[in-house]
Amino acid sequence: MADMTIKLLNYGYFEKKMLSELAVGVSSEFEAEVKIVEGYLDLNAYFDAVRKQYNGNQILRYIDSHDAADYQKLVGLFNVDLFIPILTYIFGQAYLGGKSAIASGYRLTNERYGLTKNEALFHARFLKEVNHELGHCFGLIHCHNPGCVMQSSTYVEDIDQKSPHLCGNCRNLFHEGNR
């Protein structure tokens, strides 16, 4: 897996320190080289005025249209409220077994829920969300193991319950799928 490169495309104006921590976490989990790239995207094109949210499907489609010559997987990092037409919100989205994913930190901060700011907790949640979406890119589906990062999370509290790591079974599937 040493040849694998994962690109983290920063559209969310996240701090360098946080992105470096994120890269370490992703790299160790997926045994891959992680590159952080600054990106610019006019999100107005993806804004839904009725829902006052950004269309995750359309953004993911745009991300996926990138030339993939220098990476195997790409995660677009955002800090806006994402939705897909059937759901009120999403934390992130990925193409199952594909090369692209998106993740947003918008609903991962404590302040969003009226709680005291906790930077470390936010970083931990964001790492879990990115690892989760990357897991889908590697073909992994939702896992019922409570500690596994691939467990489905519909609330931020669900994210806090799981670890940033793949469980044994998902790790085996990851290795089998990427041999």
């Binding site: 897909i84 037409p85 059937i86 759901l87 009120t88 199952l96 939702h142 609330y155």
Partner: protein
């Protein structure tokens, strides 16, 4: 559940289809999409989907019409209606038409997970239920003993008929266990949580039977001090077992036919029509068809009752079961009498297997019970089974020969205790000594 649950998403909006499709794939389901109700119907015809999610407003056929069409061909299909514009009327209509749920777009992510989890659980339960039914073991058949092909066939028929609501006639000679079979049918039927009411028609006079079956109102006849529920009323939601059905009078046959057809009746002396939902199981040791031919049993009633006929073979047709039956009765009566289990002499068992048992299993049971009572507490011997000796009697024997055999048998039975043997023979001890002398009997000869 081993198999992957399959979903069909029906929506004319591509973004909705794609969103749901990706969501379900990530959740480990197998998913497919249709952009209209017509293409959904075509897909359903060629492939089985466990859950169908359909939008309500679509060009051409709408979601409610699709729901009705699917339900018409597949009653147990799980269909979830999605809409962007929920109204109470359409929601009520959808649920009335058999929708599993009705949800408004967009859903909260947690709601979608719950919705699909509930639908999956319903599918799992339905599958489990089917599997359990397939592997369902007969209950309450512990008293129906035997390994013979004949008795296994009877039990197979019981299993098949128990789950239905059909009337059953159990035929078989006296003592073959017709009531046990009726109990087994009831105990394995969906009616098992309700009563099994037995009526021994042969033991009751016509007027008593009428009152027993239909009940009576207070003052209906002399002695009717209180209103009394009849057996049909008591068997509501359960089963009524009419034993010795061939013995009922022609008048009662007409009454019975009417009740079976309408499931309603009036108590004796009453004017209120009472309805009761019961299943009928009848038993007889007579040939009902022959009685119909002879005009002694109503043909219409015969066909009403004889939907399923279970024949219990007499014991002489399943002699292989005698050893297991003997062991069963030994265990039963030794336990009941608080005695140590006894064995049976090989010769005695052979004799039992040679015997024809006109009284069937009941006769064998009584024989074993008696043998345990009169036996030596260790082993059932040939002499503990006196009825067997009758099998060797022939009508050509002289009176003197019969007397010789009988006196010898009684002496053996009472271990040559002269007083007890004389008492059993109803002669005095001197007369018995004279007989012993006359026939030259000697103890242990």
């Amino acid at each position: 559940m081993n198999k992957k649950i399959s979903l069909l998403i029906v929506d004319d909006e591509e973004s909705v289809r794609d969103s749901l499709y990706n969501w379900f794939l990530e959740d480990g389901f197998s998913a497919a999409c249709a952009d209209s109700a017509a293409s959904a119907l075509a897909m359903i015809e060629s492939k089985n989907f466990d859950i169908i999610l359909t939008d309500i407003k679509m060009p051409g056929m709408d979601g409610l019409e699709l729901l009705r069409r699917i339900k018409a061909i597949k009653k147990d299909a799980i269909i979830i209606i999605m809409t962007a514009f929920a109204t109470v009327d359409t929601a009520v209509q959808a649920l009335k038409d058999g929708a599993f749920d009705y949800v408004t777009k967009p859903f909260d992510p947690d709601d979608l997970s719950h919705l699909i989890r509930n639908a999956s659980r319903q599918i799992m339960l339905a599958e489990e239920n089917t599997q359990l039914r397939e592997h369902l073991k007969l209950e309450n058949v512990d008293d129906i003993i035997g390994n013979s092909t004949e008795i296994k066939q009877v039990l197979e028929e019981v299993q098949k008929v128990a789950v239905t609501n059909s009337s059953v006639i159990i035929t078989g000679e006296s003592g073959t266990g017709k009531e046990l079979i009726a109990r087994a049918i009831h105990a394995n039927s969906p009616r098992r949580f309700f009563p099994l009411v037995s009526v021994h028609c042969g033991a009751l006079s016509e007027s008593l039977l009428e009152s027993e079956l239909f009940g009576h109102e207070k003052g209906a006849f002399t002695g009717a001090i209180y209103t009394r529920k009849g057996r049909f009323e008591m068997a509501d939601n359960g089963t009524i077992f009419l034993d010795e059905i061939a013995t009922i009078s022609i008048k009662m046959q007409i009454e019975l036919l009417r009740v079976l057809e309408t499931k309603s009746f009036m108590r004796v002396g009453g004017s209120k029509l009472i309805t009761s939902d019961f299943r009928v199981i009848c038993a007889t040791n007579r040939d009902l068809k022959q009685m119909v031919d002879e005009g002694r049993f109503r043909e219409d009633l015969y066909y009403r009752l004889n939907v399923v006929n279970i024949r219990i073979p007499p014991l002489r047709e399943r002699k292989d079961d005698i050893p297991v039956l003997v062991q069963h009765f030994i265990r039963k009566y030794c336990t009941a009498m608080s005695r140590n289990p006894v064995s049976i002499e090989e010769g005695a068992l052979s004799k039992l297997q040679e015997y024809d048992f006109p009284g069937n299993v009941r006769e064998l049971e009584n024989m074993i019970e008696r043998a345990i009572v009169v036996g030596n507490g260790k082993e059932i011997r040939i002499k503990d089974l006196p009825l067997l000796k009758e099998t060797s009697q022939t009508l050509t024997e002289s009176l003197e020969e019969l007397e010789r055999k009988h006196v010898k048998a009684v002496l053996e039975k009472y271990d040559w205790n002269i007083s007890r043997a004389a008492k059993a023979l109803q002669v005095d001890r001197v007369t018995l000594y004279n007989k012993i002398k006359k026939y030259g009997f000697k103890e242990n000869s």
